[in-house]
Amino acid sequence: MSAFDRIREANTRRSTEDSVPLRVAVTVAVVAAATATLRQGVGGPALAVGMMIGIPGAMVFSHVTRYREGFLLKVLLALGILAAFGRFLADVAGLGTGVASDVQIPLAELFLWTQLLHSFDVPARRDLQYSLVSSLVLIGVAGVLSITMSYGLHLIVWAVAATVALVLSHRSELADLPQVATRSRHASRPARLFRPVAATLVTVVILGAVAFSFVPPAGTSRALAFPSVLPRVAGAVPVPGGLSNPTLGENDPSRRNEDGSFDPGGGPGQSFGYFGFTEELDTSVRGRPDNTLVMRVRSAQADFWRGQTFDTWDGRHWTLSDDRVRDIKSDTLPLRIPATPTDTGGWEGNQLVQTYYLERPGPNLIFAAYTPDQVYFADRQLFQMTDGTLRAGVELGPDTVYTVISQRPPATPDILRQASTGPAQIPAPVASRYLQLPKGMPQRIADLARRVTAGEVNSYDKVRALERWMGANTEYTLDIPPLSRGADAVDQYLFEDQQGFCEQIGSALVVMLRSLGVPARLAVGYASGLRNPFTGMYEVRASDAHAWAEVWFPGVGWQGFDPTAKVPLAGDPGPQTAAAGLAQYLDLSLPSLPEGAGSAVFGVALVGGAVGLVVWVVLASGRRRALSRRRWVTRYLDRVEAAGRARGRPRSPAQSGPAYIRELGRSVLPDARFAGIAELVEREVFGALPAGEKEQDAADQTLEDASARWPAG
């Protein structure tokens, strides 16, 4: 046998699959997986149309030609797959970044092409099963790429179709075996599909929910993918290294002149714009950013997504004293971010990878957890401020994606307590810049700080004492009276209004700490937002825009504190299981319910589902037993009626079953035992007293004997 013949023999088709429903179910699963992948930005419209038409068409072609040998087709498909692989290699070579995440899209396209080509040659059940497995891979790829909940719909469709396909595949497999020549009535009916599929799906959902309670949450602690995408429309900011925030409309800092005035002609401000993303933060103005989703952040842990910081306080405004910028440019990613003098750095093994997916236009700030170390940004150029924060040289609009790897200080309460030292340990550059206070600052602010922290020996406990005091004696609100001209915003907040919003609370904390000799600054950015346990993304809304205090600890660096936001310290562990993440999500998503309600909802749903399943099984089992009892009577009466009909004595519509049995026992099937059988049937049907197995057998035997003795015709 030649090598060609051997290849030919190895590719000979196995037993073909004739089940059209199975093929349809697999097709639906494959199309659902392909659609889910296409929705993640893989391929263009041509590929989408090709897949939507091509996969069902290929499946139909495969069904029609399932009995043909198809060797030539296999050769053509192999060449097609080689071509798709060649295109994949060309795409990857064209990227030239060496970043694994950049390969994701070409790889997903390769999967799609392979799935399409494979659909042309699925004659056998085993081939369809391969298709189902490859659709699982495809839906997994789509899951990795997906950042939205809309993927869930595709996943549900795929799961239902895959379950139907599995059930049908199993039935088809069994249909190949010899069948028992059944006599029961229901067995001859076509097998029902809805109930087993529905029951299976319910079981899978319950068991899956239990599994979800134990699987670890998705994380990026050992990230391999570092996506970065910059839309083609991104324009350069007017001043390289300058701040731009078009969402503020006419207050866009990029339109600000030397004299502090703004160029006219700026567009309208956006409802999701935040006044903190500007060069001068006025703490008397909060604005009311709405609930618009501004970005999603993929991160293993929550943190403050910091945009910029301010170091100079004049009693009302925060500004940055040193606005020099460092140009960071590189032909290859990532962009390495040098440490600033106040960054202690050198922490190993506490990386936090964050990928930011922008949903709305915003400032050109590169948000990052402290301290950004590497940035994957498609523009390959960034500007670093003297405080270590980053700005892009281009406007950042929707669909912008960038990844930041931060080196986080291992901050736990114990470490921070040990890191707290006196003024001698504070370097001069830090002290000169971050202990600054306005000359006219009311003395009672410093007095209050000293009074509240009396007895606390380290900076960390002082911070916590001040937070506790503010939590107990002031109130967070956006509705505060306007700040009078010349008034100190912190003094007004602490002693007059005892009400304020995050800018005032954060400013008060910074000012009081500075008065105690603890270096601090005001940071603005976003609180972490809610982590969606399905997408694994923190959903950051405009209302999450936030200002908080950053406190400097020798040997650690900057650590964010805020009594109004529930953001853990860098060293705190996050949720340990996916279900804990879901409970946390529910807790935070249902603000009207008490704390812990999310966990309760999840637990109740899980337990309720399990109990429901058990109850259903028990009830169904009881019903089946009852049906099984009735089945003998029904079957027996059918047989009696058939015997009577065959002997010219059909049952009249008004005649009861037992009466008919008695009549036959007296006429065409003369046998005295039928009188007893009639009583048995009467008891079973009307008295709900089940006939015993021996009684049933005896009745069956009587009918057989009588039928043999008195043959029909």
């Binding site: 497995v133 891979v137 997994g140 990795v144 790429l145 997906s146 993927y151 996943l155 799961a159 379950t163 599995l166 059930v167 595949s169 199993h170 039935r171 069994l174 249909a175 075996l177 010899p178 069948q179 028992v180 020549a181 059944t182 006599r183 029961s184 229901h186 067995a187 087993p196 599929v197 299976t200 079981t203 899978v204 068991l207 899956g208 929910a209 239990v210 599994a211 979800f212 699987v215 670890p216 949450p217 998705a218 994380g219 990026t220 050992r222 990230a223 391999l224 993918a225 993929r298 991160s299 293993a300 990878v353 969606n532 346990p533 399905f534 997408t535 694994g536 993440g581 089992s621 099984s628």
Partner: protein
């Protein structure tokens, strides 16, 4: 299932390294699917009850219909049956290929006993993977038959050999008593009938082979003495030959007495039909056979 398991592990790794929560949802779904695929058939299979009804007689190597009734939760199972013989060698002999059936259902299953003997129990090998077909569970159920199934040996076509009258007379050719033969009746020829019994005159008139059934004025009796001690293979061949001889004897109109050994001891008794002979032969075991009647012409096997 292994492939799905490996894909699940890969998804966990991917989820942990990319931060995609959806991968964890898929992994949980896969775990749920594997759990359902494993638990469902295990729970249903243990609640499946099997009832079997066998005919009374069967012949070794020939198919027979076994009535199978399956009750329990609605599912699909595959099964195969093996016959358990009362006589040695102990154990079960496969009697059917694997078949598929609904539960609950009742139907006829074609089985083929592979050897002679009395079947009093059946081993049903049930397997179930429904509804998903990913994890197979197996359960073996031993079902006692309500009435035994007597599996007769397959009959080796034989003509009655030259036999002797009485003990020790089997080395002498019997005297042909053609002068005393009288025809009791005639009937159609069936394969195996001796040529000498063909009634040529009637055959010519009816244009159909017709044979005579003779009335032996002395009440001819053949005793077939079957001794199954010795090699098992040879013993089964002897049993088949005994069946053939019984059939031939009964066809030729003589009375046949079968001398065998059964579990209860030596048995000698007349058999009135091939079916009765089959039952006797089914029950025959290795042991000293019964003593032939004194007046019988004796055929000893071996």
């Amino acid at each position: 299932m292994v492939v799905v398991g490996l894909l699940g592990l890969a998804l966990v790794l991917i989820g942990r390294t990319t931060g995609s929560g959806w991968t964890m949802v898929i992994v949980s779904g896969l775990v749920g699917t594997l759990g359902a695929a494993a638990l469902w058939p295990a729970l249903t299979l243990r609640r499946v009850h099997t009832k079997l009804t066998a005919p009374r007689d069967a012949i070794c190597g020939r198919p027979l219909d076994l009535r199978v009734e399956m009750s329990g939760p609605r599912t699909l199972v595959t099964a195969s049956v093996a016959f358990g013989y009362r006589q040695a060698p102990a154990g079960f002999e496969p009697a059917s290929e694997r078949f598929c059936t609904d539960v609950p259902s009742a139907g006829d299953l074609v089985c083929t006993p592979s050897r002679r003997g009395v079947v009093d129990r059946v081993l049903v090998d049930l397997r179930c993977a429904a509804p998903l077909g990913l994890v197979w569970w197996r359960r073996q159920v031993e079902v006692a038959l309500e009435s035994n199934l007597d599996v007769a040996p397959s009959s080796t076509p034989s003509a009655l050999p030259v036999v002797s009258e009485g003990e020790g007379g089997d080395r002498h050719r019997p005297t042909r008593r053609s002068g005393h033969d009288s025809v009791r009746t005639v009937r159609d020829y069936v394969p195996g009938d001796a040529t000498r019994l063909v009634h040529w005159g009637l055959t010519a008139r009816r244009d159909q082979l017709t044979v005579k059934e003779l009335e032996d004025p002395e009440g001819a009796l053949i005793a077939i003495v079957l001794d199954l001690r010795g090699d098992l293979v040879v013993a089964e061949k002897l049993a088949s030959r005994a069946a053939g001889l019984c059939s031939a004897g009964l066809r030729s109109g003589v009375e046949v007495s079968l001398c065998t050994a059964e579990e209860s001891g030596p048995v000698t008794g007349r058999v009135a039909s091939p079916a009765a002979a089959g039952r006797r032969l089914a029950r025959a075991v290795a042991g000293p056979p019964g003593v032939p009647p004194p007046s019988a012409r004796v055929v000893r096997l071996p």
